[in-house]
């Protein structure tokens, strides 16, 4: 496996010198033994990791799908089934079967009479600590965001994480206006954060005292995402109907 002269070289090399105290008079271990131990254990460890990965993968995928499904129904009140669509510019939206990386996906929710309830869209942006990922529901009927749910955030516990629990803050998203301008190309009013208690228009987000940055971040994430998605979804509303 290893040429004898090389073994000798390595034995005289750095490894044994640096471990001189550890060896403490004991005869130096042959390189073959070191290789045997490290490679042997490495292979066994690799096999163990691969088998655990294979066993847990379907469960993990199912958990993730269930979590996403629950989030979709959560942000689209009344929805009982959902279909995934991918954005195919400039043609519009198509039903997405597989999961190709880099696709821009939205989830259409339908009620028990197969009528379109709205579209759930994932969005992300920078929060106070790290990226906040959220999903929100857009309703064509109301021209509004009708629910949001934070999927992933590392905001400060007890302060910033109130974006997920504060009832006054969540009240903003029961009906947050995202109506379009007359030419249907952009939002009539940008979603803007305001100080707690100063909300006067339906497109404003009433902030949380003590979580200013986190609540502003949510408003900005929604604004950017809605600016992109709402005109597109509005123009191609027919793509989502009559599918379910």
């Amino acid at each position: 496996m290893v040429p004898a002269d090389r073994v000798r070289d390595e034995e005289q090399g750095g490894i044994d010198v640096s471990n001189a105290e550890l060896s403490a008079g004991a005869p130096p271990t042959s390189t073959w033994h070191m290789y045997r131990a490290m490679v042997g254990i490495g292979v066994c460890c690799g096999l163990l990791i691969v088998s655990v990965y294979q066993v847990t993968l379907p469960v993990i995928e199912r958990n993730k799908a269930e979590a996403l499904q629950a989030a979709i129904f959560d942000v689209l009140p009344g929805a009982v089934t959902s279909t995934t669509y991918r954005l195919q510019e400039p043609d519009g939206f198509q039903v997405s079967e597989g999961k190709d990386a880099g696709e821009q996906l939205v989830y259409a929710g339908y009620d028990d009479e197969h009528a379109l309830v709205g579209i759930a869209v994932e969005a992300h942006g920078m929060g106070y600590q790290d990226v906040i990922r959220l999903i929100y529901g857009y309703s064509f009927e109301n021209d509004a965001i009708v629910g949001i749910r934070v999927l992933e955030s590392k905001e400060t516990p007890g302060l910033g994480d109130r974006i997920e629990t504060d009832p006054d803050f969540l009240e903003n998203f029961k009906r947050l206006d995202v109506s379009l301008t007359d030419d249907q190309t952009t939002l009539a009013n940008a979603i803007v954060p305001v100080k707690h208690g100063e909300k006067t228009h339906p497109w404003q987000v009433d902030g949380i005292t003590g979580a200013t940055i986190s609540s502003k971040a949510i408003a900005n994430i929604l604004d950017q995402s809605a600016e992109f998605w709402v005109p597109r979804m509005h123009a191609k509303r027919a793509d989502f109907e009559g599918q379910e």
Binding site: M34, V52, T56, I60, E152, K154
Partner: protein, 218 residues
């Protein structure tokens, strides 16, 4: 290290109390402070660490004559990292919420000095049975200590325990307790208690010894 007078039960007990990894040895402070903000996170982290510790102790002591000392640290890390990866997948499969709460700290179990310390100082020199008992004791001791911190922080910081509300609505949460600084406060409190108990015991033994010596002199 282990003297022949020590039974395997002693190896188990010492990690729980006398040489508790957190309260006495003060090892592995990073996860102790970081994920002990709720009792459930603390317990999950403690159990994950305990599992890795027990498994790595078993494997290391099984292979102790097979591993040359020149490459022992690298090999131990390999073994530990494998079990951490296994735990990582298993936690993801059990609960995504829990996985999110523990975050990067699961992967960081690899560098928990407690685990490498036990592998190097104990498992590489002792039989499988003793190493298993040592791992069990240290692991449970670690989980217990985390739970102690997590419970105090959750009760004071969120007014609940294992997610169950304990107090009336009028309870004002001490938000600071679930923040990082609360971890230090709580740890300081527990260390104070443990050291006070240790000192009291030492004093008692000392005075008992003095009385004995005095009686003998008379």
């Amino acid at each position: 290290m282990a003297t022949s007078t020590k039974t395997t039960t002693d190896e188990f007990i010492k990690g729980l109390w006398k040489e508790n990894p957190v309260f006495v040895q003060v090892l592995g402070m990073c996860p102790v402070l970081a994920v002990s903000n709720t009792a459930i996170n603390a317990l999950a982290m403690g159990l994950a660490t305990a599992f890795v510790l027990i498994m790595s102790n078993i494997v290391v002591s099984l292979l102790r004559s097979f591993i040359p000392k020149e490459v022992r640290i690298a090999t131990y890390i390999l073994v530990i990292a494998t079990f951490v990866t296994v735990v990582d997948y298993v936690i993801q499969a059990i609960s995504l919420d829990l996985y999110k709460a523990l975050g990067a700290f699961i992967s960081l179990i690899v560098v928990n000095c407690l685990i490498l310390g036990r592998a190097e100082a104990f498992a590489s020199k002792n039989t499988v049975v003793r190493s298993t008992m040592d791992g069990l004791g240290m692991g449970i001791g670690f989980a217990f200590a985390l739970l102690c911190l997590g419970a105090v922080r959750e009760i004071l910081g969120s007014g609940s325990l294992f997610g169950v509300e304990l107090f009336h609505d009028s309870f004002q949460d001490w938000v600071v307790m679930v923040l990082p600084s609360g971890g230090f406060f709580t740890l300081a409190g527990w260390l104070l208690l443990f050291n006070w108990m240790k000192q009291r015991k030492a004093k008692k033994e000392q005075s008992a010894a003095l009385t004995l010596a005095g009686e003998a002199a008379q």
